[in-house]
């Protein structure tokens, strides 16, 4: 069972409490949202990497050296 931790800073007493059904439902919704956002971020980064490689190939076809391409891209 998932739990939450409550710390009383005045006494140092720590209490571990089981989550309610509502809190568990929220937890599952948060996990699904995180997975969707992570997949979107990964796809965007992969697309950016593909576009970068394509741009480098086109610059190379124009006759630019590796150093010149790096100077342009960075």
């Amino acid at each position: 069972m998932p739990t939450k931790l409550i710390v009383d800073c005045s006494t140092g007493v720590t209490t571990e409490v089981e989550l309610t059904a509502e809190e568990i439902a929220q937890r599952e919704a948060d996990a699904a949202a995180y997975a969707a956002q992570k997949a979107e971020q990964d796809a965007a980064e992969a697309a950016k990497a593909v576009a970068k490689a394509s741009a480098e190939a086109k610059f190379a076809a124009l006759g630019l050296t590796t150093e010149e391409i790096a100077a342009l891209i960075k």
Partner: protein, 199 residues
């Protein structure tokens, strides 16, 4: 032992420093999804929180937290700059986030997730500084965070983040709640709270 009064002149000339940096509480989390620090003493000027955290989430990536003051769910804004992966630099304008029932400021990338690109037993390390936490003004805070991974993979969660935040509320801060974005805390995630006096 000599007479304590003999130290009077030495104390007043700065030869003995007052005890201005005081440990309030240490919390080690072995599992679970949220941590609540309650009944925070109102006897200091500033608060410093040192957080070391890791999530057992297996999907990869650095995991954020929601951080709320006094269990209040509104009036949080923050700006952050984050550098992660091989060369990704992003700036963020954040308001609130809800993670595991905690609605508060989004504290990005404060815990490291578990994945094939994340080194075993590495944790995200953060320091959160909250000046004038008992004042009747709005409360500002700053966060600096590093996450570890020891990997150059494009989706590697290692990186660094700096954030400046504001809670537009005049109440003194008496409690701080943290909810992890996804997964459970891995042992030994820790929360150390310190009080700092200006005198």
């Amino acid at each position: 032992m000599g007479n304590r009064n003999n130290l009077y002149s030495l104390w007043n000339s700065g030869g003995i420093m007052a005890n201005t940096y005081v440990h309030i509480s240490s919390t080690t989390v072995t599992s679970g999804t949220t941590v609540s620090l309650t009944s925070i003493p109102q006897t200091y000027t500033d608060l410093l929180l040192l957080v070391s955290a890791r999530s057992d989430y297996t999907g990869g990536g650095a995991v954020s937290m929601a951080m709320s003051f006094n269990s209040n769910a509104s009036s949080y804004t923050s700006k952050s700059i984050q550098y992660y992966g091989p060369s990704s630099v992003v700036s963020n304008n954040d308001t609130t986030a809800t993670y595991n029932g905690i609605t508060g400021a989004q504290a990005r990338a404060m815990a490291t997730g578990v994945s094939p690109v994340t080194t075993v037993s590495t944790f995200g390390s953060s320091s959160i500084y909250i000046p004038n936490y008992t004042s009747s003004n709005y409360k500002s805070y700053s966060v600096d965070t590093v996450t570890e991974a020891n990997s150059a993979a494009s989706n590697s969660p290692h990186g660094i983040l700096f954030a400046a935040g504001l809670w537009s509320n005049t109440a003194a801060i008496t409690s701080i709640d943290f909810g992890i974005e996804v997964g459970d805390f891995v042992s030994p995630s820790t929360f150390y709270l310190y009080g700092i006096k200006n005198s």
